[in-house]
Symmetry: D2
Subunit: 306 residues, 4 copies
């Protein structure tokens, strides 16, 4: 297919309360590598299986949560294209200069109806460690910790999910792979810009701009089990899992970083194509949709965010 | 991303010598379902996890091999678009009427430099079994046999691989995820039209229009092991595996259907994006590229085709 | 080693409220085979990987629960040996004639301090399906459902766990692989007669002769995940899991048969030898011992028995 | 059961040509830990999941191969018992003083019909790392490399396999779980002293006292795949696999340490009990028995030993 425009979730910038604890957690437990620390103290991380400069940005702050979710576009002119699309849609667009995050080119940013900041960019330097491209091994560096292969997606909470659905479809060319419809309207949406079952998801919540979780892709259910062993061994707080989502079919654990940001290890999930019908869920089965084995929501899913 | 044009491998039509034996093999062992038999005796099969009418077409003939590899496009007008692109490239395009394969809309077809027939189409009815789309379970029908989740890709052999590379990139918008370069030129290419590491691949071979294998996606390495147990239990001839490909990283077994067509069960494989560099292999490491654990080609890989 | 005396859990006889529902559950979901139905209506089941005549006995009754747990000894004279040991210990022993369960030889029986009936026997006919012994395949019959490989163990609830510990060690030559000690005494014990981390386990409970669960061995964590998919697909009530036990390290799901008897699918678990120290747990970590990922007991674990 | 006498394979002492290369291989790749180096330069290794002082002994020598296979007995008096049994059988027994290997008590030794030295001992100190026994985690030290959980068994080559069979059954209380019978007599035997499908195995070979392989237990097929990734990544020579044995059902890879000693990673394998019939294989299916997927022996299996 001709792949154009927004390619994938490229980075997420999250706030942490204790930077050394966060670095230990994301490098030793999740299995990422630290690429660099910026002059303002932000720390940049990546999986050894990612080519781009970084995918996780940690910012020291007094409250946990998300600063911005960045999506990478195919080419620089896509930024102009989407700036016009977003502006035409009625949202303000601002500009971030190349280098504001080390290794990244210029970005455009805007606020979506749930109150979150989304950024688009097209240029990233590559950084080490990364896969070799000539006669490569399956991996160069032996995977460690949970062996996360990539930053996969985020799930964000905010009030106007219907607004996000409309905006992501009309202005950003995303598609809705799955949705939960409650009697009072859309409750949650799983949006994809490619062939993954979701690249970003939103759940309805009274407060805007909340982070539910940042997800890392693992290889398979066996890896999910190993991640669970790590979580208990190092006394890391598990929210739920190992389990499966009915929605996306992903195999999962929810747990918390030392600052209280929820993380997910995610494996599986079906392959999406634009001709796949949107899967819909209603209030009678939403529990099974979210937690396929438990078949009911836990309180924390609905209420604990950062 | 904006997904346009050619989406994915949609079907492959292969020739079999003994139709009942083929049906038993593809339904009971590979784990597909028979959708229907056409008036001309062709038999149409699919995985229960595929929505479209069928993905495998079996045609009774006196020699095994491949008739055509069909790719599904996003919309009908894509056929006009690619007809022009292919014609402009200098290749003749013919037309197949809707319904020539049950459930499929009109197709266009053309012959590529390795001598194979490629077809494009945009319309397919859905057939049962298929996933539910409202409050769906992970599966409706318990998977059976090797539990193939989809027809994944084909690997075809023919003389002018360089010609295919040029054509698929320029006329069909495919990208080359990996390639093997021998001292006398390109030896093999893995081409993708989406986010899979390959949707079709070609290896250089003196005779045109040869089939190396038809691949079915399984869930993971555990599934590959179960497939191997099935192969030995039912005395099905294994070519090689279980092993891994260095190229695409896929976990794999090669084996033969009752007519001598090579099949592959394939799991894993990295996620491709258009900004991922083409991985290249040279003659010193081609063995490791093809069979990562054995690190050398076997004779059958290079010589046994149908 | 010289293996003598009591070899392994051989059968368990449980009570079910609805025999057709129970048969469907244990054959189609757990993956057993029905061997025969006795003249008194009891139904005998086994895994295709077990040689002996049966391992699960279902008896139609008005309340769920366990009638007896049977252990197989190496040779017939072991029954005389253990009859003397048990009698010397001070417990009454009764005799069950050969054929009372089809295919089994004579049994001796006695009541243990928690109020459960334990039986010993040495002779069992073999029944089909069973593994071949000349040039065997890994399996003859393709595994189905959860693909249980054997009846693995039972966990029983009753008041005098300390009494059981003493009796199983002194009269039956079992060893205690793990134990939970509460401030008021031993709370739970995992007893082994061989190299599995447990062959029978007991937890303290006010009422005697209660069944906590009957466990079936699956291959690995991947099989546990598949079992969970089956449980939700067929709306079978899950108690907890997939998770892991800290005690035994087993990977597990607890769920209920149609009569309310709790079942477990169990995989993993370490290899025990007589020189391995008894692992001990105290009240501060008992939650982690039972449910390693959740790190706390759920109410059902302590209160729901049959 | 009453477990008496010989419990399990306790250690194997092998000869290596390059000690630093051997240490790197067994610690970084296989995943063992070095416990200590003795005053004579022998190096002692173990898995972090083993309690005993060591299970692998490396001795620097000019040729690779095996010095002795040690089996651990339940209690010290078992040594006297087996000394009498072996002497009565007609074989000479010698004595090794406590401390000859650090941490081990006294040993008795004798030469078996295939020319190998077998030793028995009953006392071993524990060494770190080892599992905790109070409120233990599933593991204390994160597994690394291939994550070997224990030294599992050895396969030895020599001329008089029939003699070994008779001796191990009559003098050492082992049982034969599987055997291959060729037209000219027994070709290979898999002997167990407990509930594993084999604790030691022998294959007929013209020269005495040869080592075919030393096996390490991994968790499952997924672990076998990861081990294969490690082997190729570090350019370690693979003999065959990943594959499965028909005999024992074990999932396996054969590969070579830097001195040319063949190693195996082994997972799965059925549970053996004394009432399980000996599985037999004949010359028509021996290939499938050894390599279940390939269904034929490779040359190296029959000829490459150390």
């Amino acid at each position: 297919m001709a792949i154009t425009g927004i390619m994938r979730p490229g980075f997420i910038q999250i706030r942490v309360l204790d930077m050394p604890a966060a670095i230990e957690f994301y490098t030793k437990r999740i299995g990422l590598h630290q690429v660099t620390e910026g002059p303002d103290g932000r720390v940049y991380l990546k999986s050894a299986d990612e080519f781009d400069h970084h995918s996780i940005v940690l910012r020291r702050a007094d409250s946990a949560g998300v600063d911005a979710a960045g999506f990478k576009c195919v080419k620089d002119s896509d930024l102009d294209h989407y700036e016009k699309r977003v502006t035409d849609y009625g949202f303000a667009v601002d500009h971030v200069k190349a280098g504001e995050q080390p290794g990244l080119g210029r970005r455009i940013g805007f606020t979506i109806p749930t109150g979150h900041r989304i950024e688009l960019y097209a240029e990233s330097e590559q950084s080490d460690p990364k896969p070799r491209t000539h006669n490569p091994d399956v991996w160069e560096l032996e995977p460690h910790g949970m062996a996360a292969r990539r930053f996969d997606h985020s799930l964000l909470y905010g009030p106007d999910v219907q607004g996000n659905l409309d905006f992501f479809e009309k202005a950003l060319d995303f598609r809705c792979a799955e949705r939960v419809d409650m009697p009072d309207g859309v409750f949650a949406i799983w949006m994809t810009c490619g062939m993954k079952a979701h690249d970003i998801a939103f759940v309805k919540y009274p407060e805007p701009n909340k982070l539910h979780h940042v997800a890392f892709e693992l290889e398979n259910w066996q890896s999910i089990g190993h991640a669970a062993d790590i979580l208990t061994r190092y006394d890391i707080s598990i929210d739920l899992g190992p389990t499966r989502h009915g929605i996306t079919r992903g195999q999962t654990i929810y747990f918390f970083d030392p600052s209280g940001n929820r993380c997910e290890t995610f494996a599986g999930g079906y392959t999406y194509y634009p001709d796949i019908p949107t899967r819909t869920w209603d209030e009678t089965q939403v529990g099974k949709g979210i937690f396929y084995y438990e078949r009911q929501l836990n309180d924390a899913f609905l209420s604990v965010v950062s």
